[in-house]
Structures are given as structure tokens and as C-alpha cells.
């Protein structure tokens, strides 16, 4: 199993009042799944994503990614684990404004101290795959929302991570661009066998997943597999977003 959560609890202090964001959650996610997580605001879905990515630590319980209990790792170790094994896609893209599209994609490897010239072929290939071959030297402020999110996806794919965590990846995009992005993620799962965990408010977006987990008040309200029809082959030229 790629990802295991065992009796995970997360409690925050809101002022002096403890708030239980996650209540004793146990969950397993296998390779090649596209898991959509839904729930109202404050239901614990984002907290779950943060724990999966090692961005936060559980109050109790275990988070095991690819057989590694990440809550036991030191801050530096979990940082290194993240950059080697996980990919992140954020709602607001989180591209570095001072870097070009190519450099943004290369960032995880730059953090590993690889030379830019060694990273460039793979980063260029990913951007071309995202139909951004003509935007390599553009900075984020020269790109549209959809383009920025595709750069962010390319960045998440750079290290060929087993697990991609997406926090509302279409939340800031128009519906047409959003659909293209979701198709892209869906194809990645199907073609590369990568695992995507996506938090979303949007039922339509969630329907692109192969599994839908619904959260309510820090607990799993439902967990169901979704049968997906064969999606149309992705024609990159259509992704004119």
C-alpha cells in the first residue's frame, strides 16, 4: 500500500479551546488511484492532505508513505522525503515570481543541488508535454491561470513522485481550463500509474477520481470507488488555456 493512515488524530488550539480537526482516521490508498476528497469547510480534508504530505504532524497515529512513517522523521528528513517522493499542486499555483516557467519546474531538483543544465531536458520535456514549449522563459506574471497551473503540475511531476497531492487545483480556474487540468491528472494516473490525492469542493471535479472520500466533522463520512468511463485521448492542442 502506497499510503497508510493509522488512527490519525489532529487537534488544534483555537485560542485556548482545543479543536479536533481529524478524529481517529484510518485509511489506505494504493498505487494508481485518483482519490478525490470532499467535504464542507472545516471538515478536516485539507488537514488530512497536509498530514499526508508531511507538512504537518499528527497529534497521534501514524502516517506511512511508501513504507516510511513520516511522523518519525526530523524536519530536515521530512523535507528531503517530500522533495524526492511527493509532488504538490496548490490552489494558487505557488510559482516563484522571480523564476521562469522552466526554472519553476526545475525547482525541486535545484533544491537537490542538481545543475540546471542537467535538469533542463526533463523540465523542458514536461513543459512541452503540457503544451508550454513556447513559454519556457516566461515568468508567472506573463502566464494565464491555466498555464500557471500546468507549470505547477509539471513541477509536481519532475521528480517522478509516487504520490501527488493536489489542494483545490482547479479552485482558481475557469471551468474549461479546470476540466483540462483534471483530464491531465486523470491521464497521469492511468498512463504512469501515479497516485493523486485531490482535495476539492467541486463535485464535478471529484467525479474525475477513481475513489471519492467524503469528510464531515473530522471523520470519514463515506468512502466509495467510482467507475470511470475510458476518457477521450488527451489532445494537447486542445488545452489552449
Amino acid at each position: 500500500m502506497l499510503l497508510k493512515l493509522q488512527n490519525v488524530t489532529k487537534t488544534y488550539l483555537s485560542g485556548e479551546q482545543p479543536v479536533e480537526a481529524l478524529k481517529n482516521i484510518s485509511l489506505e490508498i494504493g498505487s494508481g488511484q485518483f482519490v478525490s476528497i470532499m467535504g464542507p469547510s472545516g471538515s478536516g480534508k485539507s488537514t488530512l492532505l497536509h498530514l499526508m504530505g508531511g507538512l504537518d504532524r499528527p497529534t497521534s497515529g501514524r502516517v506511512i508513505v511508501n513504507d516510511q512513517a513520516i511522523e518519525t522523521l526530523s524536519d530536515d528528513e521530512v523535507s528531503k522525503f517530500r522533495r524526492r517522493n511527493l509532488g504538490f499542486i496548490f490552489q494558487f499555483f505557488n510559482l516563484l515570481p522571480t523564476l521562469t516557467a522552466l526554472e519553476n519546474v526545475a525547482l525541486p531538483r535545484l533544491l537537490e543541488n542538481h545543475k540546471m543544465k542537467d535538469i533542463t531536458p526533463r523540465a523542458t520535456e514536461l513543459l512541452k508535454m503540457m503544451n508550454l514549449g513556447n513559454r519556457l522563459d516566461h515568468r508567472p506574471n506573463q502566464l494565464s491561470g491555466g498555464e500557471m497551473q500546468r507549470v505547477a503540475i509539471a513541477r509536481a511531476l519532475l521528480s517522478k513522485p509516487l504520490l501527488i497531492l493536489a489542494d483545490e487545483p482547479t479552485g482558481n480556474l475557469d471551468s474549461k481550463t479546470g476540466e483540462s487540468i483534471l483530464n491531465l491528472l486523470s491521464n497521469m494516473v492511468r498512463e504512469n500509474g501515479q497516485t493523486v490525492v485531490m482535495v476539492t469542493h467541486d463535485l464535478n471535479a471529484a467525479s474525475y477520481g477513481t475513489r471519492l472520500i467524503k469528510f464531515r466533522d473530522g471523520s470519514i463520512a463515506s468512502d466509495q470507488m467510482i467507475s470511470q468511463p475510458e476518457p477521450p485521448p488527451l489532445i494537447w492542442g486542445n488545452l489552449d488555456v
Binding site: D56, F88, F90, N94, L111
Partner: protein, 864 residues
């Protein structure tokens, strides 16, 4: 890590050139002042050492005995002493060009025995005849040799006449030779003249005394042994020293003065470094999401520290190099003022021409400057490392606001603790225990102000909330709210300006305390209508001493009234060695009793009582200045031993007085002084004007009848006070430049933070414009914010400047220079600090306010 710097750090510096430049300049100016002061301190010491070495020549030991010299019969004793190969006497006297009131026309006259001189000092003149055949020189009593430099400066040539003020009036000398800048001619910046020793004795009223005897020891005799033997046989009245010991003594004399200079320049350096801390703190706050993203993508905490430290390394190196260059130029500008101050305080001459800043010093400064920059970047970098990866996922505005309010309190608590510690350090004199404690205390003054100040500003701002709406314009209220809404930003802005303004207020307070104390003391003690002196500057007692019999001739002039018991009151001021330093002796004629001793500023006693004790039957006695008593742990009734030309004499301290001559002062009855020092010269005569006579008329009469002949000058009570005031101003002239630099650094800091706050608020400004704010209103809003911060920062700077000034004057100053100064707060200083604060904030706020008003609404709304 290299990647982080090149791909993340460097682009930030490159894409924000104005901010990078402002930070760079902040570091550069901070370092510049430090460099300038270091260069001056170093060069002053070198110059003093050079003077000593140049005059000493080949001498291994030098015998001296204070300003008035010692009996020349000592020479024969020394010559007979085992281990002494040769002993050469010398007269060393500062002489003034006759007819010039100011001391700019002065030179050091070395009265030497040219027949013996070649064995100890070598002179080179343009025409070697005078040196090779000194008899020609000696046969003409008016002969003098001056340096080529002095000749050039005063348009003199061979056979020119040079009129000098002597003890018996002005006397004309003929230039017989011009010295090349070698040997003793290098000393005192070339303001050197050579005369025959007997002629010098006569001219300067030395009688049978000499000022120094230079000794060359026999080979094979250890110098220290000869020194000890001479000390044993000559007694304590004589100082027998090697040139190295003389240098060290001068170094230690300068130490306290240089410590104050270094203190001021350290604050400016700290202000520069503070700019770095501020700038990075703001960058960290601004780039919170970016840092969070990097952390989420796998950047470690350490790499975040390295990233931010790396960003300032380049700034540190460039800023330090630029600082060195500016500092070198600044040193040129400051040196004349500092040197005047040093020369005035220590009554010695220093040539500032040779300001040296070696390549080695340059490299060390750049390295230290860079290191200091790195150290100042560590704290904000640690804060960056603490940013959680989750910051990439959420907005942080609210978090930042509450964080700012908490931060102000936290900083204030830290500031309060430091303030308490530095207060304890000053009050309980911990500073005396080690240089480190002393330096930390001084740094603590600044840090406490910087940390506590913003909290006070926030409190002020909260207080302003009580002002009913409508009292001021809506834009003013909006600006005020903006400042309160983002305390973190306000803290940064205020801190940037505060350090500079604090320094201005601190210096002003110290300066006004000195000024008011000295002028108050002078008003109390200087009561005669006129003073008659020779060329020089009486306010700093740099004058040619006069023959005491001159007073009889002055008294014959109509309108002149005796101030003393039947005569003019003469006073003689000399500097004499005491223990490891030098003190001032003021020997004064007794004033008539009916003056009630008003001319003495007594400590815890009636002046008349002290006068009666000083001139009473129990002699020899002295009145001692309070700083002398404190420095030497003496009290009334104790005795002190003074080395006089007549041997060591025990004096009883019969009272404590206030006097502010450097090193401590002793008042002695001039009759007693004449007896022990064998010196009847007078530095100045005090007279009153008879009722019904006009002061100007009497002055003209004195100058007309005796002035030209005896080179006398008359200054009125008022003129003397003005001259003293000028001397005080001159002593502190250098502090003006320090204040200016501190203000520039503070202004750069405020400009930097204001610019950032405009960028930070681009979207908010766009929104305000969208809902109908005019360009003028936006501009006014930023402008008001700037002025409010400048005003409040200045108010806090005033409060802290006064408090720290009080600590410094009341406690630290006593420890460092031994002067007891009354604390005075200058109202003009308060007003000028507040005005400067507002002006600086207006200058700093102008560009950002224009920039904000010109933002395009649509672009501003889209700004991320």
C-alpha cells in the same frame, strides 16, 4: 545551496534594485562612519607617536619635569651618571606669531644646543651651511630655522623676519635656514622652529630651566638599569621615560576621548546593520508564501537560513567596500574637526595630514563589515527558517497582524530587560570591570531603544484613537488606522528611523550638558571685566605666558582697576605630570576679600571659606576639582604629593571645587606656586574697569600703549565667554557629521520600509482608488503615515535620548573621562530632533507616496 542563491536569492536582489541599493547604502554609511573614526583614531595616535619619535631622535631616555621645565643644573648630574653616553638639553615651547590673535599661527620652538645636536637628532636644511657651521647661526642672536612647509604656508624665505610672541612681548627673528621634512622637522606637521637654547630660554622666560634632556646610553648598559638609577638619584620630580612609554601615556590619554568617538560611530554602524535586520525581516514577511512553497517542495530549514544569509553576503561585501571608500573621504572631512577637539582637550598638536588606511586595514574592514552584516542577517533568517510549509497553502494577513501586536510586546519586554541591565551597568559602574561590559552597555543603550521604542509608538497610536473623528481630515484618521492595523509594518518603519534620531538626541543632550555646565561654571567664576593676555587662545589656555611685571605697567593706564589686593590678579595655568597622567594646575593671585570668593565654584561649601583656606596659613594647600578627587580616590583633608622642580612636595587638599580642565585641576596660591615651581610667568591678567570709564576706550589705550610693544591683547568678559563657547562648539563640531550620517542611515531605512509597505499594499491602494479615492488622497495617506511615524519615532527618540543621555552624563562619562557634568536637557535639541524626524520622514515619504498615487487601478487590483 549555490542553486538557492543563484535561482532564488539573486533574482530578488536584481528585480528590486532600488531596495537593494537602499540597503546597500545603509550598510555603506554605517560602515563609513566607523571607518572614518577608526582612521582618525589610528592616525591621531600615529601622529602623536611620530611627534615623540621625531623629537626624541636617537635618545633612549628622556628626562622631563612638567610645563615649566626644571633646573638646568640637573644636566651635569645626568652627564656624570654611569651608563649615560651623552645628555642633550632642550627647550620645548609653543610659540605664537605676534600680532595674530588666533592660534593658527603657532609653532613649536625647539631651543637646542646646535653644537651637540648632531649626536642625537639630524637636521637637513636646503643650505647645509647653517648645520655644518653652527657658529654663524649662534653668533646672530635672532637666528631661527623653520621648516620649508611652515615657510611656504606663511610666505617666508631665507632671511625673512618672523615676529614671535615671547614672555617680554613680541620679538623679531631672522630665518637662517629651511628644514627639509626629515628628523624633528616631521613633528607637529612641520610647525617646528629651531633656536639656540640660550636664546629660547631668554625669549620664553625660562631662566635657568630646561624642558627636557635627551639621553643616549652607553652601549652595554641596559636602558632600564640606567633609567632606574637616574630615577633614584634625581627623585620623583623628574620623569625619566623611553619614547615608547611616552607614546603609551599619550595613547592612554587619548583612549577615553576615542572611546566616545567610537561609541558614536558604533551607533551609526549599528543603525546600518539594523537596516539589514529590518530589510531582511520585511523580505521574510513579504516572501512568506514563497518560503512556505519552497519548504513544501522540500527545502530544509537550514537552506532557508543560508538563502537569506547568502542574499546579504554580497550586500555586506559591496556595502563594506563602498563604506571604506566613503569612510576614507569622510575621514578627510572629519579629521580637522576631531583633531581640533583632541588638540584642545589634550593641549597638544596633531597633524591630520597623514590619514592612513592600508590595504590590510581595508581587507580587514571589508571582512569584518561582511561578518557583521551576516551576523545581523541571522536573526531574521532564523525567523524565515521557522516559517511552516503550510504558509504556502493559506493567506497570512490576519496572522501577521496579530503577530505584529504580539511582537511589539515581546520586543518591548526584551528592551525593558536590556534597559534595566544597562541602567544597572551604568549606575553600579559595572562598566569599569571590563571593556566588554563597557562596550555591551553602550550597545545595550541602542538595542533597548530600538526594541522598546516601537511599543511606545503603538501605545501613542492607540492613544490617538481617542481623538474624536472629524478633528483632523479623514485621510489623517485613515493613515492612523493603517498604522495601527499593521503594527508589524509600523514597528519596522519606526525602528528604522528611531536609531538615527536617538543618536541625534543623545549627542544633543550630551553636548548641551557639557555646554550648559561649562558656561554656567564660567558665569559663576569669571567675574573680571577684562583679561589681558598674549597671542593665543585664552579660552583653552593656549597662550604665550607673560612676564608678571607687565601688570604694573597695565595698572598705570587710566581706567584700569586692580582686582586683587592692590594689583591685577595674575593666573598661571600649566599642565604637570601626576601619577600616570597629566593634571592642570591653576596658580592664582589672591583676589581681594570683598569679592567674597565668587570666582570659585565650590562643592558643598561656601566659596569664601574655601578661598580663606586656600590662601590661609596652612600651606602648602590646594583646592582640588571634584573629578580629580574621584579619579584619585581623595577627599578633603587628604594630602597629595606633587613633583615640583624643587622636589616632591606634600600638599593638603583644603576643599573641593568644580573645574573642567582635562585630567583634573588643582588651584594653588600663585605665591606658593612661584616658590616651588620657580616660575613667575603669568598666563593672563584679570582687571576691572574703573567706574565712569568706557571698556572700549580702556582696551584701546592698553593695546595702543603696550599692545604692540609687548604683544598684548585685551578681551572683555563677554568676548571671553564667547570664545569659550566657540571652543566648546569646536570640541563637538565632529558630532554634527556623526549626527548627519546617523540620520542618512535612518532615512534610508525609513525610505526602504515605506517603499516596501507601498508595494505590500498595492492591492489595497488599488481598491481604495477603485472606490473613489483620488490620487491626492492616496498620496496624502502615505505621506501622513510617514509623518506620523517620523513624529512619533522622534518623540520616542527624545525620551530615550534624554534618559540614556542622563545615564551617560551622570555615570558613564565619569568613568570614561572623569568629568562631572551636570545633566541638562536642551529644549532646542528636543524641538530640533522632532523637526528633523518629521523632515526626514517627509523626504523619505515623498517618493513612496507619489509612487502609490500613480498606481494604475486595474494593475493594482490584479497585483499578486
Amino acid at each position: 545551496m549555490k542553486n538557492l542563491f543563484f535561482y532564488i536569492g539573486l533574482p530578488h536582489l536584481r528585480l528590486k534594485p532600488l531596495r537593494s541599493l537602499l540597503t546597500l547604502l545603509g550598510v555603506a554609511f554605517g560602515i563609513a562612519l566607523y571607518v572614518a573614526i577608526s582612521i582618525i583614531n589610528h592616525s591621531t595616535k600615529n601622529s602623536l607617536r611620530e611627534n615623540i619619535d621625531a623629537i626624541a631622535g636617537k635618545a633612549k631616555l628622556t628626562v622631563t619635569g612638567g610645563t615649566v621645565g626644571f633646573d638646568d643644573r640637573v644636566l651635569s648630574i645626568i652627564k656624570k651618571h654611569p651608563g649615560v653616553k651623552s645628555a642633550i638639553p632642550m627647550i620645548e615651547e609653543r610659540a605664537y606669531i605676534a600680532g595674530k590673535k588666533e592660534k593658527s599661527g603657532s609653532l613649536y620652538v625647539l631651543g637646542v644646543d646646535l653644537l651637540q645636536e648632531q649626536s642625537i637628532r639630524s637636521y637637513k636644511t636646503t643650505d647645509q651651511k647653517v648645520i655644518n657651521d653652527p657658529l654663524v647661526f649662534l653668533n646672530q642672536a635672532d637666528s631661527i630655522i623653520i621648516t620649508k612647509q611652515f615657510a611656504h604656508e606663511h610666505q617666508l624665505a631665507l632671511d625673512s623676519k618672523l615676529k614671535l610672541a615671547t614672555a617680554n612681548g613680541s620679538r623679531s627673528f631672522t630665518v637662517r635656514g629651511l628644514l627639509e621634512p626629515e628628523g624633528p622637522a616631521r613633528a607637529y606637521g612641520g610647525s617646528i622652529a629651531i633656536m639656540d637654547i640660550d636664546g629660547a630660554k631668554l625669549s620664553f622666560g625660562k631662566g635657568e630651566k630646561v624642558d627636557r634632556i635627551d639621553i643616549i646610553t652607553e652601549a652595554g648598559y641596559p636602558i632600564t638599569e640606567v633609567q632606574m638609577e637616574l630615577e633614584r638619584s634625581l627623585g620623583k620630580a623628574y620623569q625619566i621615560e623611553t619614547p615608547e612609554t611616552q607614546s603609551k601615556k599619550l595613547d592612554s590619554l587619548l583612549e577615553s576621548f576615542q572611546l566616545i568617538l567610537t561609541f558614536f560611530s558604533s551607533i551609526a554602524l549599528f543603525a546600518g546593520l539594523f537596516l539589514i535586520i529590518n530589510s531582511i525581516s520585511i523580505a521574510v514577511a513579504e516572501r512568506r508564501t514563497e518560503i512556505g512553497t519552497l519548504r513544501a517542495l522540500g527545502a530544509t530549514r537550514t537552506s532557508m537560513i543560508i538563502l537569506f544569509v547568502g542574499e546579504v553576503i554580497g550586500m555586506g561585501i559591496l556595502g563594506s567596500i563602498l563604506g571604506c571608500l566613503i569612510g576614507r573621504i569622510l575621514a578627510e572631512f572629519l579629521s580637522a574637526q576631531v583633531v581640533t577637539s583632541v588638540a584642545q582637550q589634550f593641549q597638544t598638536h596633531i597633524s591630520p595630514e597623514k590619514l592612513s588606511f592600508t590595504t590590510r586595514e581595508f581587507v580587514i574592514t571589508v571582512l569584518l563589515g561582511t561578518l557583521a552584516t551576516i551576523l545581523s542577517a541571522i536573526w531574521p533568517s532564523l525567523k524565515a527558517a521557522q516559517i511552516h510549509p503550510l504558509e504556502s497553502m493559506k493567506g497570512y494577513t490576519e496572522h501577521q497582524v496579530s503577530d505584529g501586536a504580539r511582537l511589539a510586546k515581546k520586543l518591548a519586554n526584551g528592551g525593558l530587560i536590556i534597559l534595566f541591565l544597562v541602567t544597572c551597568s551604568a549606575v553600579f559602574e559595572w562598566e569599569r570591570y571590563s571593556t566588554l561590559i563597557s562596550a555591551s552597555t553602550k550597545a545595550g543603550y541602542v538595542i533597548a531603544t530600538a526594541l522598546f521604542g516601537p511599543f511606545v509608538v503603538i501605545l501613542f497610536l492607540k492613544g490617538l484613537e481617542r481623538i474624536p473623528r472629524g478633528t483632523f481630515s479623514a485621510v489623517f484618521h485613515f493613515s492612523h488606522e493603517n498604522l495601527l492595523r499593521n503594527p508589524k509594518r509600523t514597528i519596522n518603519n519606526v525602528m528604522a528611523l528611531l536609531v538615527g534620531l536617538f543618536l541625534v538626541m543623545l549627542i544633543s543632550t550630551i553636548r548641551s550638558s557639557f555646554h550648559d555646565t561649562l558656561m554656567g561654571w564660567l558665569d559663576q567664576t569669571f567675574i573680571s571685566d577684562i583679561l589681558v593676555t598674549s597671542t593665543g587662545r585664552i579660552a583653552t589656555t593656549e597662550v604665550q605666558a607673560l612676564n608678571e611685571n607687565i601688570q604694573r605697567r597695565i595698572l598705570k593706564i587710566p581706567g584700569v582697576r586692580a582686582i586683587g589686593t592692590g594689583r591685577g590678579a595674575g593666573s598661571r595655568v600649566i599642565r604637570v605630570p601626576y601619577l600616570d597622567g597629566k593634571i592642570t594646575i591653576k596658580a592664582m593671585d589672591r583676589f581681594a576679600d570683598f569679592y567674597s570668593g565668587r570666582y570659585i565654584s565650590a562643592v558643598h561649601a561656601e566659596p569664601l571659606e574655601l578661598i580663606q583656606r586656600l590662601y590661609g596659613p596652612f600651606q602648602p594647600s590646594v583646592l582640588a576639582s571634584q573629578d580629580f578627587l574621584m579619579k584619585h580616590h581623595k577627599k578633603e583633608g587628604d594630602t597629595i604629593l606633587l613633583n615640583t622642580p624643587r622636589g616632591t612636595v606634600q600638599f593638603r587638599i583644603v576643599g573641593a571645587i568644580y573645574d573642567y580642565a582635562p585630567g583634573g585641576v588643582l588651584y594653588i596660591d600663585r605665591k606658593i606656586y612661584k616658590k616651588f615651581w620657580n616660575d613667575s610667568l603669568v598666563s593672563a591678567f584679570a582687571f576691572n574697569i574703573q567706574p565712569g570709564h568706557d571698556l572700549e576706550q580702556v582696551r584701546n589705550d592698553i593695546e595702543r600703549t603696550l599692545g604692540k610693544q609687548l604683544n598684548l591683547f585685551v578681551i572683555s568678559n563677554h568676548e571671553f565667554k564667547v570664545q569659550t563657547q566657540e571652543a566648546i562648539e569646536q570640541s563637538f563640531a565632529y558630532t554634527r557629521a556623526i549626527e548627519l550620517i546617523a540620520l542618512i542611515v535612518g532615512m534610508l531605512g525609513l525610505l526602504n520600509t515605506l517603499l516596501i509597505s507601498v508595494i505590500e499594499r498595492t492591492r489595497e491602494i488599488g481598491m481604495l482608488r477603485a472606490v473613489g479615492s483620488t490620487q491626492g488622497q492616496i498620496s496624502q495617506m502615505i505621506f501622513w503615515e510617514s509623518i506620523l511615524q517620523g513624529f512619533l519615532g522622534a518623540c520616542v527618540a527624545v525620551v530615550f535620548g534624554i534618559y540614556i543621555g542622563w545615564l551617560f552624563v551622570r555615570y558613564s562619562l565619569v568613568g570614561s573621562i572623569g568629568w562631572i557634568i551636570d545633566f541638562h536637557v536642551a529644549i532646542p535639541a528636543i524641538l530640533s530632533t522632532i523637526t528633523v524626524g518629521i523632515l526626514v520622514s517627509i523626504i523619505a515619504g515623498y517618493y513612496p507616496s507619489k509612487k502609490a498615487s500613480k498606481l494604475l487601478i486595474t494593475e493594482a487590483l490584479d497585483y499578486e
